[in-house]
Structures are given as C-alpha cells and as structure tokens.
C-alpha cells in the first residue's frame, strides 16, 4: 500500500463527492417550487392597500431577485426547450452549473440565497458545534462499547444478572427511534415532575465568564443531554455485534491455547480476541465519521444545538440551494474519506488484505 494508492483513492473519493453534489445541483433545480419564492418571503395577503398593483410589482421583484442570484441563467451547459418543437440548446459557459463549479474550484462554496452570507462561514459556524460534539460522542460510545462488550463476554459459567440486564437494556434502546430516546431523556431529566436535574433550554443563553470553572460546569451541564442521546443511540449497534464477534473469537483455538498458558479470561479477551473481533466492525466505527460533519437533525432540534443537521434541514425547507449543495458535498466527502480510512485500517491490521 503506497502513496499512489492512497492518492488515487483520495482522488476517486473527491470525484465521487463532486459527482454526488453535481447530481444534487441538477436535481434541486428540477423541483417545481422556485428558490426565489422563499427568498422573497410570503406576500402580505390582505394588509396592503397597494396590493392591486402587487401582481406586477411582485413579478418585478422576483425578476430582480432571480437576476441578483443568477437564477435567470440556464441551469446547465445543455438544456432542452419545452417545445414544441423540443430542441436541445447549448449555452456555453453562461449557466448556473458552470458558475457554481468555477466558484468551487476557487474554494468558494457560494452565498446563501436568504442571507447573502458566504456558505463557508455558515458551515464553519455550524461545524464548531457539530464536530466536537459528535467526535466526543463517537469516542465515548466506542470506548464504552468496547468496555461493555468485554464485560459481557467475561463470564466463566452462566451469564451474571447485570449482564442480562445490560444486554436487555441495549436491545431495548436499539429498538427505540432516536427521537423517542432523546425526548424520553429530556422528559426524564429536565422535568419538574420527574428528575429536575438538567437544563431544558438547549445550549442556554446565560453563561458565567468564559474559561472559569463555573463556565465549564454550566457548559458541561448543557451538553449532558445531547451527548447522552447520541451515545445511547449508537451504543447498542456497536456493543452487541462486538460482543458476538468476541464470543466467536473466544471459541477459537488460539484463545484456548492462551487460557491453557494461564492467562486470565480478561487478558485473553482484551489482548488476543479483541483485535480480531474488531476487524469486521471497523466499517461500523469509521461509519461514525460522516456524522461529525453531517450532525443529527433530531438531537439538534430537540436540544437547540446550532449544528449542521439543523442548518441543512432549514436550508432544504427554504430551498437555499447553495447551502444544501455545499452541505451535501461536505457530507459526501466525509463519507468517502471514512470508507478510505476503513480500507487503510483493514490493510494495516490485516496485511493479507493489502493490494498487491
């Protein structure tokens, strides 16, 4: 596995991300509802006495807006006239796709239709919340999954009671949709009628001075619920397969040999079985990486986190295409990189899989 292999895969990943973003770009422009309707806002339906003329003035406003946003240009290099007769028309470089691509190649993701802010700035502001939270949640969930799986397989004879309870709980949590899980946690832990121990106002608005211990505690308290939701949501899907894989590895001959040599069951599981058991689950672990840039809409809405999921959902609802396309591009790139990382980890842990 050399530099060129990684370079080629990286190039291929970026090409795939670009292909996905291009497909989204062309698809969103086929939607019946135009972006300018949402950017211009709802017309004042009954209030204006001047409304007898609004038909013309609104059309003029729409035209001006479409011109400012570049929506009056053709979508692609080649378009088909509605006809009859149906004809294909070549537009050269004067089209929306070419403009978007040129900006992209210069590192510019475009500008939001609704606020005219650079898309990169909006994504950056959202990633500041999403990436650390998701990274922390993924790390905690992974660590906890390994610890739980090792604990669950560590029973010399019959399963202990706590192991049965944990397994049942994990299976139950896995059956719950994320929304129900998060809402249940909120209602349980931030409710005057039950446990009134955590805040319900999302990330809150009143914080002590930045950097002080009180700030850390206050910030940490506000993070508990979203973090707990995210960890619990992925914990069963990491722990249960890992436990099954560990059990299978512990039945292998090399594990029996290790036990015969006098190693404790914990040492056998941790030192010998775990590295092998983790192999089939590498894709699952690296699959958590894209969520670090994509976020989770449900958790972000419920706990008022200003992250990527909310940004993307809001942009999609208001047809803010530059923002939608940039978010998709970013998420697709992260997904491709996660797959590449999974491959590299496989090759690193099992040299037999390396390309010749």
């Amino acid at each position: 596995m050399g530099f060129w292999w990684v370079f080629t895969r990286l190039g291929r990943a970026l090409l795939t991300a670009w292909g996905i973003a291009s497909a989204i770009f062309l698809t969103v422009h086929l939607l019946p509802a135009s972006a300018d309707e949402f950017t211009l806002g709802e017309p004042n339906e009954l209030g204006s006495a001047a409304s007898l003329r609004t038909s013309a003035s609104r059309q003029a406003a729409q035209q001006a807006l479409r011109h400012r946003l570049g929506l009056d240009e053709p979508v692609f290099y080649l378009t088909r006239t509605t006809g009859p007769p149906v004809r294909w028309q070549w537009h050269g470089r004067h089209n929306q796709y070419h403009h978007w691509l040129s900006l992209l190649l210069h590192g510019n993701l475009g500008y939001s239709y609704r606020t005219s802010q650079p898309v990169a700035a909006l994504l950056g502001a959202a990633l500041v919340y999403t990436t650390p939270l998701m990274a922390l949640a993924s790390t905690l969930a992974t660590g906890l999954a390994i610890w739980l799986a090792l604990g669950l397989v560590n029973s010399p004879t019959a399963p202990r009671r706590w192991q049965t309870v944990v397994r049942t709980l994990l299976t139950g949590i896995q059956a719950l949709p994320l929304f129900s899980l998060s809402l249940a946690l909120l209602l349980l832990l931030a409710n005057r009628d039950l446990l009134n121990v955590l805040p319900a106002d999302g990330m809150g608005a009143d914080y002590p001075p930045l950097g002080s211990m009180a700030w850390v505690v206050s910030y940490g308290t506000h993070l508990v619920l979203p973090l707990l939701s995210l960890v619990l949501a992925v914990l069963p899907q990491l722990t249960l397969p890992l436990e099954a894989a560990l059990r299978q590895e512990l039945r292998a001959d090399y594990a029996s040999t290790a036990r015969a040599k006098g190693l404790t069951s914990w040492q056998v599981a941790y030192r010998h079985a775990l590295p092998n058991a983790l192999l089939p689950l590498l894709t699952t672990f690296t699959g958590l990486l894209p969520t670090m840039v994509a976020g989770t809409v449900v958790v972000e809405v419920l706990f008022a986190l200003p992250g990527m999921g909310r940004l993307l959902a809001g942009a999609a609802a208001t047809h803010d295409y530059p923002l939608v396309i940039a978010s998709v591009l970013l998420t697709a790139a992260a997904r491709m990189l996660a797959l590449l990382l999974a491959d590299i980890l496989y090759f690193w842990t099992d040299p037999r899989l390396r390309p010749s």
Partner: protein, 575 residues
C-alpha cells in the same frame, strides 16, 4: 458498585445545583422564546417575523404599531400624516418629524434620512426586493427647503390605508451609510426604473453597503431605536441592551410605542415546542409566545402554573379557510360549492383543533371588525342541506357516486400542508362527511415548500390553508380579483361584479361607504362560495407572573417586548 452509586448520586446533586434555575431576580433579563433564528438583522431583507421584531428594537419607523389599539401611532413622525388627494390617481402625505428624534451619535433625524432610506430600499443590487415591492407605491419625497424635518410623500393611487402603510419601514441614517451623498443625484422614480441597467455609481454604493454587513453587525450603523445588539449567537440566542440615554426618554408623556422598559431582552432560540415548555416550567424562559392550543391548555391545568405563570389569549387575524378550484368543471357552479361548504364543520373543528379558542366568522372579516356582517348566519355542518344543494345543482346519486350530465363525476382531491395537525383534522373531517354522501375525497398532504406552487398551478379541487390578515386588511383583491389569478387567487374565481366591488372597497374613504361595500362583499362571498372561512385562530402566550404590560395582541408577534414591565422582587401582579 457502591462507588458507582455514590458517584451517580453526587453527580445528580451537582447537576441539580448547577442547572435548576431560581425564580426571577431583580434586573434579570426578559427571556423570550423564538422557534427560529432571525437569520439577518438587515432592515432591507427581513426574511421572517423574528427579523422584523428585532429590527423594531434597533430602528424606528415614522409610525409604529400600537399593540394595545392595533393601530399605527406616530413614532419618528410627530403625528399621523395629513392626507391630500391629488387628482384621481395620486395621494400626498404630509409628515413632520419629531424635533427630539436623534441618532445614537446625537445627530438629528431629518427628512433627508427618510428620503435616503426610500432610495436605499429601491437601490438596485441590494437584497431589498421584498421590501421594495411593498413600498413601491411611494413615488416621490418632496423636501421642504425651509424645514429639514418636514416632507411630503407622493403616492401612486388613492387608498384610506396609505397614511399608515407609508410609514411602516425603519429609517436609516444617511450620514453613516452614504457620507458622500451618492444617492442624492438620483430621484426615487429613476431608482425604481434602474433595476435592469444600474449605473456604476449605484453598483459601487450597493457594494459599499454590503461590506458593512449590517445584517450581522447592526451596531456599525447608529439607530434611533431604544436597544442595541449586545450579543448574537446564531441559532442560539440574541441579546438586546437598552440604551442608557435614548431620545424618546425625554418625551412627556411618553407615547406607548416609544416606551422601552426592560434593560435586557434575550431571545432564546428553541426550535422544539416540548423543550420550550419544559424550559418555561423550569424558569429558563419568561415569555413563550405563539403556543399551541393543546400545550397551552395542558400547561394552564398544571397546579403550579396559576401561581407562577400568566396566560393570555388574543383573537388573531389569521383565518383558517377552505378554497374550491372554480376552474374545475365540477366546481364551476356556486350550488355545488355551497353544498360542499355544508360538509365542513367549523364549530366542531374549532373545538377539536383549537379547543374552542378562536372565533367563527361569516366571512373574511373577524367578528370584532366594525364592518362585520352580523346579519349573515354562521356556516354550519349540514349534510342534508348539502345533498339537497347537490341535487339542485344537477347532480344525481347513482351507483358509484354523484354524476351529472354529460359525464361529470363528483370526485375531489384535497390539498393541505403536510405535518400540521390542524390541517389534517380539517381534511379528515371533510373526507368523513363527504364519504357519508358517497363523495370520494382523496387527501393530498403536500410539503410546505411545494404547496404554493401546486395551488398556483391549480392542481387541486379543494385546499385548506391559513390566510394572514390585519386589522386594516380590507383589500381582498389579492385573493379574489381576476388580476390575481396567477398570484394569490388560488381558487381562480373571476367575476366583473366582484372585481369592481373589490376595487370600490379599496378606494372607499368614508367608513359608512366602506361598511356598506364590505357587508355587500360578505353576502356575495357567501352566495358565490369560492372559499369557506372556517374560523379565526388565536394567539396564545404564557409568561412569568412577575411580568406585566406585555400588551398581548392578535397581531404578530402577539406582544410587545419593549413594553414589558418586570416586578421582580415584588409580589406577582394579578392578571
């Protein structure tokens, strides 16, 4: 395991101590729930209601809405403008600005600032297309060379609503935004025409304006409103701080629209209704506006709520109504539309969806309006009458449904916004009522962003939606005039009689004449039934009991944040 329990218990105690907020203390900010971010604070853009609310704290218009009377009161203007009709197509509005009005830097607010703002709204290259179309009727501003605070607005057309509609935009300072007076060389009319090929001077000005990024850094431009932005964490919170000295503080007596009591107003953005309700109960919020009916009732019923919270409900101008596609051959005749109107149950729907909080109506005006036609009966659910009307319309009930020669079959599709409990209930009630008469109804819930497009395209038989009105909203042309068929006239209803009546209503000056025309319009609407008004919705508001003078109103946002008076440390005010 013992350590685990001890750790958990300590953690719970710590969290509880850190997170349980105490009741309001003296000087605490007023924390108001918003469901979404304002996105920008640029007065030219105003993409949503929250932006409008925030901008009204930073800037002032000539007139401001008085939430107590639901009328416009003078703000920067000394009084409502004097109106003079010029010929039969123009209106002249005479304004005087208050002598006390100043910007934050101490400079007076002058007529040249108003002139500049109007030109700014119409300057090509700026993202002001929405606002521009709203104030496009103002054609000229005439300055008075002898009085820098006196000016006249010349408006195209004549309408009784012009005096207050002409003053509802934030005035911005010319000295900061255009120090070189580059817009003075252009007339307002020439700017309105310059959209296609704007001169370089205008493009340069537009670029300069945008580099100020006023939408995100509003403090770069001095305002004349009572607050300044103290902090904005996008999608989390906005904090506004009362200016220590504000020009309107010197006015005696202070008009209601120029009162600003809270020292700090904090808008907390909580998208989820359930989380917002928990936050209100935990005193992490003080004001929860636009509450859903069920949540409002549930909260009101809680034992602690009556001691800690105050509840307000105001009749709004938002009307839930059903519309019929009059372009469809089956719905072209009024008898069929009248029959289908009888299958909606406004009383039951009001009780079922709003728990009775709202007002039934005979037409498009609320019962509180002086022009309401109370001689008309309220629409009611009457399937027997519906069947009778269908027969009178020529329909015959044969095997498989209602048919009419030559080959018409009464089968309906009903569109409404998806994921909305109220619309879904209306749709299900109508379908159930229609099914009893053997009229098949296909429900087509449509995603919000494509619903308008679908209605414009006429791809429906019946729709249910909300019509946003206002106390002065007597202009029904946008939804029923034949010229609005490609716009807001989704039902496609066209009639020369209705057109002339709608135009006469808009132009009518004396209230007696207006009353006569509006009563006639309500009768006509009932007779023709292109749409069926179901009921006016209510705005519900819950607030901490220590807050008073919220001025709950049926107008958005349903309260006045600047008017709120806090009695922290004192016994709760009776409500």
């Amino acid at each position: 395991m013992r350590y685990l329990w001890f750790g958990s218990y300590s953690l719970a105690l710590l969290l509880s101590a850190c997170s349980s907020p105490a009741n309001r203390q003296a000087g605490d900010p007023i924390r108001i729930r918003w469901a979404r971010d304002p996105e920008t604070l640029d007065p030219l853009v105003q993409p949503n209601q929250n932006t409008v609310e925030a901008i009204n704290l930073l800037h002032l218009g000539l007139l401001q809405l008085n939430f107590q009377t639901s009328e416009y009161d003078p703000a920067l203007a000394e009084a409502l403008p004097a109106v003079q009709l010029l010929g039969d197509s123009l209106t002249q509005l005479d304004y005087h600005l208050r002598a006390a009005a100043t910007w934050d830097d101490g400079h007076p607010v002058l007529a040249t600032d108003v002139n500049f703002t109007l030109k700014l709204l119409n300057c090509p290259g700026l993202p002001s297309e929405g606002v521009r179309s709203q104030f496009g009727f103002i054609q000229q501003l005439q300055l008075d060379p002898t009085d820098p605070r006196h000016f006249k607005l010349v408006c195209q057309g004549q309408a009784p609503e012009y005096p207050w509609e002409s003053g509802d935009f934030p005035i911005l300072p010319e000295a900061t935004l255009d120090p070189t007076h580059s817009l003075r060389q252009f007339s307002l009319a020439s700017l309105q025409q310059a959209a296609k090929t704007p001169p370089t001077v205008l493009l340069a000005f537009a670029k300069r304006y945008q580099t100020l990024s006023q939408g995100y850094y509003p403090n770069r431009v001095p305002g004349c409103g009572p607050y300044r932005l103290a902090g904005w964490q996008p999608n989390r919170s906005l904090t506004f701080e009362r200016k220590a000295t504000w020009w309107a503080d010197r006015l005696r007596p202070a008009p209601l629209v120029l009162q600003a009591h809270p020292k700090i107003i904090k808008y907390v953005i909580l998208p989820d209704d359930g989380a917002a309700m928990l936050a209100l109960r935990r005193h992490e919020l003080d004001v929860y506006p636009a509450m859903q009916a069920r949540a409002f009732q549930r909260l009101k019923a809680l034992p602690f709520a009556q001691q800690e919270l105050a509840f307000y409900s105001s009749a709004s101008y938002d009307l839930l109504y059903a519309g019929f596609n009059t372009r469809r051959p089956t719905l072209r005749d009024k008898l069929t539309r009248q029959a289908l109107s009888c299958l909606f149950d406004p009383a039951g729907l009001l009780a079922g969806t709003q728990l009775g909080q709202g007002q039934r109506t005979v037409g498009l005006l609320p019962p509180s309006s002086p022009f309401y036609n109370d001689s008309l009966p309220l629409p009611t659910y009457d399937p027997a009458c519906a069947a009778q009307l269908l027969r009178r319309a020529g329909w015959q009930l044969v095997a498989g449904g209602w048919r009419r020669p030559p080959a018409q079959r009464l089968v309906l599709s009903l569109r409404y916004r998806a994921n909305d409990e109220t619309f879904e209930t209306v749709a299900l009630q109508f379908r159930a009522a229609a099914a009893k008469l053997d009229i098949p109804v296909e429900l087509r819930p449509t995603e919000a962003t494509t619903l308008n497009h679908t209605l414009h395209a006429g791809d429906f038989d019946v729709f249910v939606r909300i019509l946003k009105g206002s106390p002065s909203g007597f202009n029904f042309a946008p939804i029923l005039h034949s010229r609005a068929v490609r716009e807001g006239n989704f039902v496609g209803y066209t009639s020369p009689t209705t057109d002339s009546l709608l135009e006469a209503i808009v132009a009518a000056g004396p209230p007696a004449r207006k009353r006569q025309l509006l009563r006639k319009f309500q009768v006509l609407l009932r007779e023709e039934s292109p749409l069926l008004p179901l009921f006016f919705m209510s705005y519900r508001l819950a607030a901490d009991r220590h807050l008073s003078h919220l001025l709950p109103s049926g107008l958005k946002p349903g309260y006045s944040a600047a008017a709120i008076i806090s009695s922290d440390g004192l016994p709760a005010a009776p409500h």
